[in-house]
Symmetry: C2
Subunit: 339 residues, 2 copies
């Protein structure tokens, strides 16, 4: 009997998640029913939003239930299928979570386009990361040539693409990242115009110097101190797509005062800012447009990226916990089987 | 020699403005040069934004300079003209400020459409108030039939129109106002579905009860505690046009903690809120569309309003100071001469 090793939510974290919030289980692999497919996971994507889904709080998606498999996007190979659209050996993208095998509804799967090669790319540049960057930057941020775009977590899965996509439209891209090694990579390998280390004591001053013409688009994916440094630099009519607030997901209480909300609302008015939250599923029909453009850039080598690969499902909790602390360098992936 | 009585900014307020921040002067009326017009003010509009313009802070418009005439929209009668487009006796709308006479550039004036009768209406329903409500509500708020729109200062110049314009598009309108008399007026005279007294101890609970289906559009013109009560009631994809934050203009320091900014940004993301600041001049080309629609509603009696009229330029400072404390009941106007 084939066994499925999987990781479930054992308890909800209070503050930063710890290993004890997860539990590894081995259960027999299920049998697909009519319209279902059995998929063996090859790649699992690890991403910040998973932290929020661990909280028992209303959000854009329901929380992961206690003792349920942790949520996550996956690439896998079809083992057996009871749906006419899928056959053994197909490589499919789905949301099969932190486990080695999954029986899932065929409707939740999409076949990978073979021309794109290495399947992990469907979880990164040409997958959720790419589409998230594309939707938030182009549909909300709308950078024009010559404008300045700032993005944090600039060496990460989404942030790295936001800056490159800004450059592709003629904008100036300024990244924020943790530590000199990541900052160097963002400028030298990804081609951003500048990248500021948020750990520097004079971070806010350095960011101001890197944005001499102010900030027109701030792609928000971290919140907290980066946001506080960005706010005074925003230009009139700046756009702020809010994709994530990774610095806040583990917060157990509001930070000490004063309350800066009135300052923020005054800035919204005086600068006529547009702040808009989004998640990828809000742009359900963006796929064709995204693939048409991104696949060309990808073939031309214009979307560079770095993967931070861990092996085996057991590595997922530590990889996830480390990512939330900024220990990753690039898009975090778990490889469960060979490509 | 005809004298011009005018009110200038004598000193910048620290906190709530006081009478000593203003100075009344009498100076000889000037002579118009080529392309200029001499206008005698009939009506002066008093509005919350003037408080912000008294601060020495960068904003969407420069501050009023010390010893300069206080800014303000006016309706007046042309006394003499050295511009071919204007003649003695024309009734004109301009930005001539807190004074009885003004020599101004012809290009800053617009002739009043005679069919609309009483000229003060050009400062309210069919003027800046109406256009501000129209632009913020329809171009940013975009209420759909059946949705719930909340607006504060609901008996005031802009708020009263926001609710009525929401109703005209089939939305539910809930106002917030100070005291039972204003709330009664908002429901019984303006036709809002409900109006909650923000002075009530259980204001937040009452607001929640008045919005059983949540809030889809919050037209922000006050900030502070009303905003805090609105935030938890906002629905997914709610739109928040930010037109003013009257509760904050006189703030001398940030309110005590905790800092609620992270809570706000989390809500922006989880509910995919759109928060957008605007001022009327951002919608410079909205005039024709606005007049086409609003003039019909006005003729049909569908835009009700209340004016809070004071007499003589000397009454302006007290009327303004009182308005900031919510002592006005309706749109505040200063009448300087008979219509």
């Amino acid at each position: 009997m084939t066994m499925n090793r999987r990781i479930v939510l054992a308890s909800r974290p209070s503050g930063d998640p710890v290993a004890a919030n997860f539990r590894t289980e081995e259960v027999p692999v299920g049998e697909p029913g009519p319209g279902q497919v059995l998929v063996r996971t090859i790649w699992l994507s690890i991403a910040p939003y998973m932290r929020w889904r661990m909280n028992d709080a209303k959000s854009y998606a329901p929380p992961v239930a206690l003792n349920d498999v942790m949520v996550g996007a996956t690439v896998g190979e079809v083992v057996s299928s009871r749906d006419p659209n899928f056959s053994e050996g197909d490589i499919v993208i789905g949301m099969n979570g932190w486990q080695e095998y999954a029986v899932c509804e065929a409707a939740t799967l999409r076949k990978q386009d073979a021309e794109w090669g290495k399947s992990a790319i469907m979880l990164g540049v040409l997958g959720g990361n790419g589409m998230t960057a594309y939707a938030g930057l182009y549909k909300i941020g709308k950078p024009r040539a010559g404008e300045t775009v700032v993005v944090a977590a600039a060496s990460g899965g989404v942030g790295s693409l936001v800056g490159q996509m800004a450059k592709l439209k003629g904008a100036r891209a300024v990244g924020v990242a943790g530590g000199p090694e990541k900052c160097r990579f963002v400028v030298e390998e990804l081609g951003f115009d500048a990248c500021i280390d948020h750990r520097a004591a004079d971070f806010a001053e350095q960011l101001a110097l890197a944005c001499p013409d102010g900030i027109d688009v701030y792609f928000e994916n971290v919140g907290g101190e980066v946001w506080n440094a960005v706010l005074p630099l925003l230009n009139d009519f700046a756009r702020i797509p809010v994709c994530g607030v990774i610095s806040q997901y583990s917060a157990t209480e509001a930070p000490p005062g004063p309350d800066r909300t009135p300052e923020l609302m005054r800035a919204v008015l005086s600068k006529r800012l547009e702040i808009r939250g989004f998640v990828l599923t809000d742009f359900a029909d963006i796929g064709p447009e995204f693939y048409a453009e991104a696949s060309v850039w990808h073939r031309q080598g214009k979307l560079r990226y770095k993967e931070d690969i861990h092996r085996g499902i057991d590595s997922a909790p530590d990889a996830f916990i480390g990512m939330l602390k900024g220990k990753n360098f690039g898009k975090v992936l778990i490889q469960l089987a060979s490509d």
